[in-house]
């Protein structure tokens, strides 16, 4: 393995794979904060050059966190199909990039079982933004819970009806408006303000009732901590189609999230037994670059490779949904719109390459150097990259988490811009409800939550007589 190169008469020598990976990363404030970033732009390119020359075997043999120390490294390494790996291990990262850009969808799918997080992250570091879109567009990962998402030609959305105090009426108001924009075919999923068993159960029930009443083909989820959701299941308090957890890319960082592999195995098992959904995919994970450093669990590695490790962790549980919450963590990790866009494209690409059904929470916080235009740029690029789903929230303003993400309008506009559709059964139902026109675009009555006035609860006296 060669760790040195010369550029413009300057020698650049790196100490190990981890350093090469870190310095090859596009500029991120989080890597600077961690003290692992390249010190100059040329050093960054030098690192990329050295990285391009490494073999996939070099990367496999040098996980950024040692196998003995970390349960996620073990999950990742132990899942490798050795036979497939044997076929590609001699490929350099540079060659691997070219393979991904030129191979067919089928050929890429065939080598997926041989990949580790370090390989996935390494090749992302060599790709330009358009490369990331180009390669991701030929990787489709479908998953089935109650419905199937990720089919080519679809762009789904999560309806995110967050409320400052989890008031059920307020939450349902956002649900009604969201569905009236054709949002929610991925999931109706709430981030609860209060992580309490009873209120989580109440909200799950409320979502399910709405789904039944209006015959909406989707899944319900309340994104509480996994242990809270396990209690809801143990006590049979509410129907739960999808189980959620935020993931981090190392055992140490996972501890800060209150989880480890053993706990997630347990959660998966109970969910498998008690879930209310029908398909084989019933887990939902969120991730985001930088969370390992913020939990002091980055092990001196850059945030991109740590993020890739989250996907290996996620893959173990055959998830239905995985998305990076790309601009949520703050400017000390992703400084501005440029870094946020880059990270969004990287994460989406890496997730797809790992083989998980990847979506993206395209978002930014108020202390980032980013605005609505950056968000819209990334959303359009990801749509072009065949991202499985994005978020949908009233006018882009999350009144609970206090950040901005894609709006109900954005989801509808992106579908129209790209000619994509919601998943077929959802589209069919939206047409029946008059929300979509024949082409699957918003009809004149779309965007009006009061179309969900129900007559069912009104018992007419005459029918009682």
């Amino acid at each position: 393995m060669r760790l040195k190169t010369t550029l413009f008469g300057h020698t650049y020598a790196f100490k190990d794979v981890k350093e090469v990976l870190a310095k090859a990363n596009e500029e991120k404030s989080g890597d600077i904060l961690a003290g692992v970033a390249a010190e100059s732009t040329v050093e960054r390119i030098a690192a990329k050059t050295v990285l391009a020359d490494m073999t996939l075997e070099d990367l496999r043999n040098n996980p950024v966190v040692p196998y003995e120390d970390d349960d996620i490294t073990r999950v990742d390494q132990d899942s490798v199909d050795e036979e497939v790996f044997g076929r590609i291990k001699a490929m350099t990262v540079g060659e691997f990039r070219e393979f991904l850009l030129s191979a067919s969808e089928k050929e890429i799918a065939a080598i997926r079982p041989a990949l580790t997080s370090e390989i996935v992250a390494a090749v992302a570091k060599l790709m330009s933004n358009m490369d990331l879109v180009y390669a991701a567009k030929k990787m489709h990962v479908e998953a089935t819970c109650n419905t199937t998402i990720g089919k080519p030609g679809t762009l789904s959305s999560r309806l995110q009806p967050n409320h400052a105090t989890d008031d059920v009426a307020g939450i349902m108001a956002s649900v009604m408006e969201g569905i009236s924009y054709g949002v929610g075919d991925a999931v109706i999923g709430l981030n609860p303000a209060v992580d309490a068993i009873d209120s989580v159960a109440d909200i799950l029930k409320e979502f399910k009732e709405f789904m039944y009443k209006w015959d909406i083909p989707t899944q319900n989820c309340v994104l509480a901590h996994v242990t809270t959701q396990m209690k809801v299941l143990e006590r049979n308090l509410a129907p739960m189609d999808l189980m959620f957890q935020s993931l981090a890319g190392s055992e140490v960082a996972s501890r800060a999230f209150g989880i480890n592999v053993a706990l997630m195995d347990e959660a998966y098992a109970i969910m498998k037994e008690r879930k209310s959904s029908v398909g084989p995919n019933f887990m939902y994970f969120e991730t985001g670059q930088g969370s390992e450093l913020s939990a002091d669990g980055n092990h001196g590695a850059d945030q991109l490779v740590m993020e890739a490790r989250c996907y290996a962790f996620a893959k173990r549980y055959n998830p239905f949904l995985v998305n990076t919450v790309v601009g949520f963590i703050g400017p000390e990790y992703l400084y501005d719109g440029r870094q946020m866009i880059r990270a969004g494209l990287e994460d989406h690409f890496m997730g797809k390459l790992t083989g998980i059904p990847m979506g993206c929470d395209v978002c930014y916080t108020n202390h980032m150097r980013a605005d609505q235009n950056d968000l819209e740029n990334l959303a359009m690029m990801l749509t072009m990259a065949d991202c499985n789903y994005i978020m949908g929230i009233p006018a882009g303003d999350d009144v609970m988490l206090m950040y901005q993400t894609t709006s109900y309008h954005d989801a509808a506009a992106l579908r129209r811009l790209s000619g994509k559709h919601t998943i077929a059964p959802f589209e069919k139902r939206m047409k029946e409800l008059g929300i979509f026109d024949e082409q699957g675009n918003l009809s004149t009555i779309a965007g009006d939550p009061s179309v969900f006035i129900s007559r069912e609860q009104e018992i007419h006296l005459r029918s009682a007589v």
């Binding site: 904060l33 400052a164 108020n366 009233p394 882009g396 303003d397 901005q404 675009n441 009006d448």
Partner: protein, 256 residues
């Protein structure tokens, strides 16, 4: 001469408008809006926002951004006689990028604090710009006044009030340690939300120290004219100070 104004889109009530064309039930949309702060009932122009929705949104984001990036106007803390120090951070951009530097002081600054400020106070008040200098200038005056009245009433020994530029919450630990304070109270500008650049938080700890975990802190947040009124927050802080002084602990150890 009479001036004509274009309507102010920054007013909170702009959010209350229903902009949907011909809703099936305007009354229901109004009620749905009442149940949540979310921006519902905004209607659409094609699949995009109406102009008013977009401008309102951009205005609300603009004030939040300016709150973060505008240097604090220090005339108020000067006027109120605060002792001023700066963390290891040199400018706003570094402040945002380097939270680690915003938590610590240079040795000289620490020495200066030790040299110039009252030692062993019962109550040490610290004001920090944090992520919004606007928050400090909007809330400090009234909140400080009621706190000082309350502490005087309780006959607490109040330390030299200190203003810290480019500060994260953790500076309170360093100052408390340097001066041997019993209860340390830090008023700090919060990360702005949309339309709310003026929200302030208070962190309090008993014998605040860098050696203790963050859970040592008792927190009051969302202090501004549309959240917890500053004077009410001040009264609550006085009340909490009494509890901290009596219990000799703070944060999660304290069951309030």
């Amino acid at each position: 001469m009479k001036e004509e104004f274009v309507p102010d889109v920054s007013l909170p009530e702009v959010k209350d408008k229903v902009l949907i064309d011909n809703p099936k039930s305007l009354e229901l949309v109004k009620r749905l809006k009442k149940a949540t702060n979310a921006r519902l009932g905004v209607g659409r122009a094609g699949d995009r926002f109406k102009t008013e929705t977009l401008l309102k949104f951009r205005a609300d984001h603009a004030i939040a951004q300016d709150a973060v990036w505008t240097e604090i106007d220090e005339s108020l803390v000067d006027e109120m006689g605060f002792y001023k120090v700066q963390t290891m951070v040199n400018n706003k951009e570094e402040y945002v990028r380097r939270p680690d530097l915003g938590r610590i002081f240079s040795e000289e600054s620490t020495e200066a604090i030790k040299r110039d400020c009252i030692h062993q106070p019962d109550v040490q008040i610290i004001v920090a710009d944090g992520l919004s200098g606007f928050a400090i200038n909007a809330n400090l005056k009234d909140m400080y006044a009621i706190m000082m009245d309350g502490f005087r009433e309780k006959k607490y020994k109040v330390g030299t009030p200190i203003f810290v530029r480019y500060s994260r919450v953790a500076t309170m630990d360093r100052i408390s340690e340097a001066l041997g304070a019993k209860v340390t109270i830090q008023l700090i500008g919060e990360r702005p939300g949309l339309a709310t650049g003026e929200s302030m938080s208070v962190y309090m700890a008993y014998e605040s120290s860098p050696k203790k975990p963050e859970s040592q802190r008792t927190v009051v947040s969302n202090i501004y004219s549309n959240g917890i009124p500053p004077i009410e927050a001040g009264a609550q802080v006085v009340h909490l100070t009494e509890i901290l002084m009596r219990e000799k602990k703070s944060g999660v150890e304290l069951k309030i």
